[in-house]
Structure formats: C-alpha cells, structure tokens
Amino acid sequence: MTQTDDDLGNSTDDLKQRFGRDMFNDFDIDDPQFNEHFFEILDEMVDKCPVVRSNVGDGYYMVTRQADVRKAGQDWHTFSSAKGYMPNRPEGLPYLMPEESDPPKHTSWRQRLNPFLAPKTVAQYDTQIRADANTLIDRFIDRGECEFVSEFGAKLPGWAFFKNVLGVPTDDLDQLVDGVERGTFAPPEERGPAFAGVFEYLGKYLEIRSNEPPRGDLVDVIAAGVAYEDGSTSPWADRVSILVDLTFGGIATTTYVMAGAIHHLATHQGDRETLVDNPELIEGAVEEFVRVFPPVVALGRTCTRDVELAGTQLKEGDFVLLGYGAASRDPRVVENPAKIDIGRDTVLHSAFGVGPHRCIGSNLARLELRATLEEWLKRIPDFGLRPGTAPTYETGILRTMKNLDLVF
C-alpha cells in the first residue's frame, strides 16, 4: 500500500465517522450532514481533496481549490455552461440565460447588460437603498427585537433590485418580494409555485414595457433583445429568461451574506464595536463577509472534451461543480482562512465566481451590504442573538440562513 492509499483509507473512515458519509469520494451537496458541518467539511476538502466525487444520479465532481476553480471557470471552451449549472438537471427544465450559455451568445448579452450593473450605475441607487434600509429598521426598532431574515434580509435586496434596476410599479413590489421570499424559504413543495408566480409577472412586465416608450434602462435592453452570432435575434423566451436569471440570482443570495454578517456582528462584540467606531472599515469587512458566507456554494460546468483537472482525469460529458465556497477558504491563497478577519489586507475569494460568468450583480450586492451595515450600525450599534436561539441553515448548490432572532 502506498502512502497516498494509506492516507486516503484513514481519511475515508474518519470522514464517515465525523460526517456520516465519505464526503470526498461519495459526496452529496444536498446531504443534511453537509449543511450541518458546512465549514468544517469545506475546510477538509480544500485541505485534502482537490477533486471531490459524487455518485448521486449521473455522478459529478467538485473542484475545491482556488487555482483549479479559476482554471475551469476561465476555460469556458473546455468547461461549458451551455448544459446548465446544476448537477442531475431535471429533464425539460428550460435553460437560464445568459448564465447557462457560452460565448459568443453569452457575450452578446453580457455586453449589453453589464453597463446597467457597473459600479458607476449602481452608485446612483445608493441613496434609495439607504432610505429603504431605514424604512425597514423603522418597522421594528422600537420593539427592541426582530427576526432579521424575514424582516430585513429578505426584503432589502428585493426592493433594491425591483425598484431601482427593473423599475416595477411600487404597488407590485410587496407581491414580488413576497414571492421570491416564499420561493426561497417556504416549505420545499411551495417554492416552485411561488417562483412560478414571480416569473409569470416578469414575463408580463417585459411585455408591457416593450410596448411603452423606452426609459433608457436595463429592461429596455432586455425587451429589445440582442443579435446572436448566427444573425438571428434572441427569441422572446430568452429575453424573459434574462429577467428570471437576474431575479433568481441576485436576491436570496445577498440575503444570506447580509444575515451572515449581522449574525457575526451579533455574536462578536469586538468586531461590532470596531465597525461602529470606524465605519470606514466596513467596505473591507463586506469583502470578508462575502468570502466567508458563500451563498453560491458551487455552480457546474460540463466538460466538452477529455481533460485532466487537479490531477483527476475527466471525460467529455462529465459534470464538474466549481466549489466557490471551498475555494474562498483555500489556505494557499488566504492566510488562516477559517478565521473571520474584518481587517484583512487583501481578500481574495471566489464568491462571485470566476471567468466570463462572474456574478453580474456583484457591484449591486456590495453596495447593498455596505449600506446595510453602515445604516444598521448607526441605528442599532448594540445588538445580540436572542438567548436560547440559534440560526438554522439550508444548503445545496445555494446556502441560506433561515432565521436570525436578534434583541437590542
């Protein structure tokens, strides 16, 4: 037996004992044990197992180290998004645009959409987002307590997106935000119908807007469509899909980072006081919170040819998850990665993905997080976890915090 085999043998037994399954060779991203021991398992993987293997359904892999995640994310010729981002994708599920496409189709959309979510553009939403954060805080501050996820974290990102980016009528806002919230947090069987309602609204909204005078916004560009490489114009279904993708990708994800940050500050008095006394440190702290609370645990690619990745031979058609959550905890890149250090000099993470599919809403998410922490700490500088409570989580390719009870 070689040294490597011996190590692997030991770690398999060890993993089964600690997590109830061999998380390296028999991984299941939906296993409740992964949710339960999330950070511990990610740290084990990034330390010892560059390519995790799953036998669920057709089987899939997950790369865990930052250099390998970057290599696969950047090499879209070999690691294609055109067959979707989820492993064992249900038959007949329509593909989301532009997330589930490759260049040049992906590029033709991104080039048109990028300006509307660039730092300069989203900066115009700063005042409105801060006002909205304060409106939400007004609703519960006198009570001296709140359930952060439902009363703030699930609301603000929806308001920020639907109001500022899509410009939907104010009267429709509650219905939409509620739909996304139920689509994320309701019992699993109610989520599909809740999201379906949101997507139906978005389709109608796009149709209405396409018949109205242009406002010079993102929705105009989506409604007009783009020219594809073959000379055709993007079909209507692709245009609705863009709106669905932006909505699905940009709201609940930000909620998790927000909740993670507020939970950390509720339970770490020193860091909380540091940020209250030195608000100029919040921008850097946001980057650290994005690194350590990864709402997108992993998204997948399909190999277009046989290829070796991180020492593992993959075959054409194999499905590989890019382990963003693990890669952001890679000790080869981040010193003492398990520590939440709000004063890090450089925060190098993979939370927004890597390569041409980089999260298009990353600038808006950062703005929402910064506005949240700045406004919250001004109004509620001293807060803690309600005694006897603890947050609960749900994890698959996405991770959410379901409840966070605070007192102040």
């Binding site: 970057r70 950047q74 990028n114 300006p115 660039a118 730092p119 993470h349 390569g355 980089r358 990353s362």
Partner: protein, 67 residues
Amino acid sequence: MKVHVDAELCSGHGRCWANAKDVYRLDDDGYNADRGTTIEVAPGSEAAAEYGMRSCPEAAIEVVTQG
C-alpha cells in the same frame, strides 16, 4: 513600473479599481478600461499598483517592468 491587464481574463470584478483608484480605471461596463494594454504606473504608485494586482480574482494583471 509597467503592468499589463489581460484583455481576456478581466471579467469586471472591479477589485483593482476599488483598491487602487489612482492606478486603475473602469470603463462604462465596469471592466478595466486599459485591459489589453500595458499601463505605465506613476512614480510613487507602485505599491498601490501591486495591491490592485493582488486583489484580482482572475489574476489578470501582471508586472511587466519593475519600477
């Protein structure tokens, strides 16, 4: 000091600009405005240029001539 920004690898994270605004500029799409070219770093801004370079999640920036 000169740094090169790779045209293909820049994906618009904007970290170079966020951490070294005197050295790196963004275009209207939020991508490095000088991608595909080599930037001459002003004397005194070398440390900032390196900080911006280290912040890039794509490793899209490299030093071509030390200052």
